[in-house]
């Protein structure tokens, strides 16, 4: 890989290795001119031999890394994540073999201090029997080898939380484009349109591609984060925390994540969300005590619960408009 790369001119480099544009930009070096081979260009730009040697090594390692990343992007997606039980807080074995597949929605329930965070942390660090719980994570039926795990390359979990903010001084368009480019997407423009359309639909209140991300309202920010994670995050699992008060259409948000083949894991006690899940992991004393699979009965009750939720939303809207609540009869009418 190393020799051919150095022999390519700017034109070929731009076509075959578009990610190098960013590499040179981050070093404040102009991109190699169209007809000059990379080696000659570097000799010109960096006359010092030792310095050039370091730069070339860096450039080659970067190009190799990107090539590997690209192969990973196009080649393999995670088909299944398996969670193998460890032990509870008393050291007793946890009977658990849970398979998570793209499109699954899993809720984690249990009182404070029961071990919900531990479970989520185990997934995040790809536990291999070395966390306090002793749990193990397999991807596509195989443990994760040490080198991969320690390199931090495989990020299994993306997070959506109410505590998260945008800190970049960018417009919505630039923001999505930047994320798409870091994922080596070839059609950035198209991706920007897709993510933006989804975010606007989720938010309910319109904003534009030129709005600075830091000027978005709470609900708009959340909507953009959800749409972005659904379409652009590298991680197969999305951990959702506190979507309850997020000011976005929760039902649509979940549907979107599922449609994009994410494994959604939610720590929630809200029946409106919990009943939308496929199963609920009940955590007690540091272990999964049982797995409740959502029943048909629960799903049909969810339909009635949604009606109730809409009625409550109507009342909320009345308060928002500055109106007086004269009666809650509509809320209590038979479902």
């Amino acid at each position: 890989m190393s020799a051919p790369l150095l022999l390519k001119n700017g034109l070929v480099l731009r076509r075959e290795h578009p990610y190098l544009v960013d590499f040179f930009a981050s070093l404040a070096l102009p991109f190699p001119p169209a007809h000059l081979p990379l080696a000659a260009y570097l000799t010109e730009q960096v006359p010092d031999d030792a310095e050039r040697g370091t730069l070339i090594a860096q450039l080659i390692a970067f190009a190799d890394g990107m090539a590997a990343l690209q192969a990973q992007e196009t080649g393999q997606t995670v088909g299944k994540v398996t969670l193998l039980g460890g032990r509870d807080k008393s050291g007793d074995a946890e009977a658990l073999k849970l398979e998570l597949r793209p499109g699954d929605v899993i809720c984690v329930v249990g009182p404070t201090g029961s071990g919900k965070s531990r479970l989520l942390a185990d997934i995040e660090c790809l536990a291999q029997g070395d966390t306090p719980s002793g749990r193990r994570i397999h991807i596509d039926d195989a443990p994760i080898d040490d080198a991969t795990r320690l390199s931090g390359e495989q990020r299994l979990v993306a997070q959506l939380s109410q505590n998260m903010n945008f800190v970049m001084d960018l417009s919505v368009r630039e923001f999505i484009a930047m994320h798409a480019e870091s994922r080596l997407h070839s059609e950035t423009e198209k991706m920007v349109e897709t993510v933006f359309a989804m975010a606007v639909e989720l938010a309910g209140e319109p904003f534009t591609l030129e709005t600075p991300v830091t000027a978005l309202s709470g609900g708009q920010s959340r909507a953009l984060m959800i749409a972005d994670v659904a379409c652009l995050s590298a991680s197969p699992i999305v951990l959702v925390d506190e979507i309850e008060n997020a000011g976005v259409d929760r039902r649509k948000a979940l549907e979107l994540l599922v449609r994009q083949e994410k494994i959604v894991v939610m720590a929630t006690h809200d029946p409106l969300l919990a009943l939308r899940g496929d199963k609920r992991l009940v955590i007690r004393h540091g272990a999964v005590a049982s797995v409740v699979v959502t029943s048909e009965d629960e799903r049909s009750e969810l339909v009635r619960l949604d009606v109730l939720d809409r009625r409550l939303a109507a009342l909320r809207e009345q308060v928002r408009r500055g109106e007086r609540i004269t009666s809650i009869d509509a809320l209590l009418a038979p479902l």
Binding site: F23, A121, Q159, N163, M164, F166, V167, M178, S182, D228
Partner: protein, 228 residues
């Protein structure tokens, strides 16, 4: 004894990261010590002492902090041996981003935080470029997209390093970093070993205490910008 150098911009969370890793290492029964290199003032000594970790603080004062580090790291190693430590951690703030305290035979860790913005990895220089492990903190308060872009930019600057997120408040992510600390190479002396990146070629009147501005004061190794 093992030595690990931890460097990073001010307030990136170096001390918190070390404390979170230390919790796990102490549980494993390791004897730890910390040498904190700082410029003008440091309160971190108290945080380490509170965690029961022996600590020494060195303030560079009027000297370049990286020169100060190199002149003292051997003595720090001797102190660690005398204290019978299994692992000595040196913590130093990268202030001007020009240099780095990373040494060739020593496990090198760089701590950067998500809040510093996605352009930061490109600006930090040798402290990040020459690290074996890059720890990214404060991920719990920025969006997933920013976390991913930030990690990508770090990999652009240093493709060989392990890149690990760590929450300095909860310790989430510290397990994998612990493994990088315990697998650090053991060493007996630093005599004759080398820095991973050279110090600046600079000896001018300002290095020696000059404060006045003007051509007459610019004697020694001076580099001027081209405004043409």
């Amino acid at each position: 004894m093992k030595l690990v150098t931890v460097a990073g911009p001010p307030s990136s969370g170096k001390t918190s990261v070390i404390l979170r890793v230390a919790e796990g290492l102490l549980r494993e029964g390791l004897r730890l010590g910390v040498v904190k290199f700082d410029c003008l003032a440091s309160d971190d000594e108290k945080r380490y002492a509170k965690a029961g970790i022996p600590v020494k603080t060195g303030l560079a004062g009027g000297l370049c902090p990286d020169h100060f580090f190199v002149a003292n790291i051997e003595a720090a190693l001797a102190w660690g041996k005398q204290e019978n430590l299994d692992l000595l951690i040196s913590e130093s703030a990268g202030l001007c981003n020009r240099c780095s305290p990373h040494l060739q035979p020593v496990r090198a860790v760089c701590v950067v935080d998500n809040l510093s913005g996605v352009h930061t990895p490109g600006k930090i220089g040798p402290m990040l470029k020459n690290a074996d492990v890059v720890v990214i903190t404060k991920g719990d308060i920025v969006s997933q997209a920013e976390r991913e872009v930030f990690a990508f930019r770090v990999r652009q600057v240093n493709p060989k390093a392990a890149v690990l997120p760590l929450n300095g408040l909860t310790g989430q992510g510290s397990l994998l970093l612990q493994r990088h600390f315990t697998s650090a190479p053991a060493l007996t002396t630093l005599d004759g070993e080398k820095l991973r990146f050279s110090m600046p070629a600079a000896l001018c009147y300002y290095c020696l205490g000059e404060t006045r501005i003007g051509k007459d004061c610019q004697i020694g190794n001076v580099k001027t910008m081209d405004f043409a």
